[in-house]
């Protein structure tokens, strides 16, 4: 019999410390598999965020830098400009990228930096206790808006892909929704495309992944997948926003 699925060399032997059903583990694996498939593990530098994925350096076999909160695109810019033959990616959550790091991501995109950004949008702050994030949906209950997000007080969710797609700098922007085997394949393809773009020197690529947080949404993993399909995709429609 032939082995058709095994653990990628892009991951270390450390077991993931994430909650059961968390999308972070899935996306770490997809990034690791992509790096292995493209044979760039030994020349890749990742920049990880502040948030649950802060421990990414434990799990990935490539080099990882831990950036200050939200500053991953700035650190990635520095690495890429000093050692241009390295493949540089940042991996950021919605609290990191869309809140404290809004300035960094917008300007990195506007400059068209040749980096790949994996943006994990789960509509809440996972690590700090499920507070309201810039991407929290209208009427979604969180620990800092216990009666639901009210636009009159808390404003509206930010659509990062649409916002960055108005700029001339970025090369590739796509939003994906990994909630089914087909969605997983599409997500993997999008991540691979973001890295291939960088290798080809095309410039800034961003993949937004609609993801879950079973713990703070107080749902089972399967319910969170359903929530992504039924509620999140209405506000954050999946699709390719830019590919040039």
């Amino acid at each position: 019999m032939e082995k058709v699925f095994e653990r990628t060399k892009g991951l270390t032997d450390t077991e993931f410390g994430y909650c059961p059903g968390c999308h972070h583990s899935v996306l770490h694996r997809m990034v690791a598999e992509t790096l292995e498939e493209l044979d760039i593990l030994d020349k890749t530098v990742g920049v990880c965020p502040v948030g649950c994925a802060v421990f990414m350096y434990e799990y990935m076999s490539c080099d990882i830098i831990e950036a200050a909160h939200g500053r991953a695109p700035a650190v990635a810019t520095g690495v890429k400009r000093v050692i241009p033959d390295r493949i540089v990616f940042s991996y950021q959550g919605d609290g990191d990228l869309a809140s404290i790091g809004t300035a960094e991501i917008v300007h990195a995109a506007a400059r068209g930096e040749n980096i790949s950004v994996i943006f994990i949008n789960n509509t809440t702050y996972g690590m700090t206790g499920g507070q309201m994030a810039p991407t929290t949906l209208i009427n979604q209950k969180t620990t800092t808006c216990p009666t639901g997000r009210n636009p009159a007080v808390n404003g509206y969710p930010i659509r990062v892909c649409e916002m960055l797609a108005t700029l001339d700098g970025p090369s590739y922007i796509e939003r994906v929704c990994p909630t089914s085997p087909a969605g997983f394949a599409k997500t993997k393809k999008a991540i691979r495309h973001a890295f291939e773009n960088q290798i080809a020197g095309k410039g800034f690529s961003l993949v937004e992944v609609l993801s879950n947080c079973p713990t703070h949404l107080r749902m089972t993993p399967i319910e969170t997948y359903r929530r992504i399909d039924e509620e999140m995709t209405k506000v954050f429609p999946p699709g390719v926003f830019l590919d040039r």
Binding site: E15, F16, H24
Partner: protein
């Protein structure tokens, strides 16, 4: 014909493999693993086609597949 091996101690009992297996070959154990989760197990060994959907859906890379 396929065979899967679920690492009982890596499994966190999220049930995604059980939900997405097209043949319903995977079920949840009644016992607990050393982490304190109820792990999944390979229940219908004759019906597995080795499609590896379970392994791709597993967040904790706890499943290996042969075909």
């Amino acid at each position: 014909m396929g065979v899967i091996k679920i690492d009982r101690d890596k499994c966190k009992g999220c049930e995604l493999c059980v939900h997405f297996c097209p043949k319903g070959c995977i079920a949840m154990e009644d016992g607990y693993n050393h982490k304190g989760y109820r792990p999944s197990y390979f229940a219908k060994e004759n019906e597995c086609t080795g499609c590896a959907i379970c392994a791709r859906m597993c967040p904790d890379v706890a499943i290996e597949v042969w075909r």
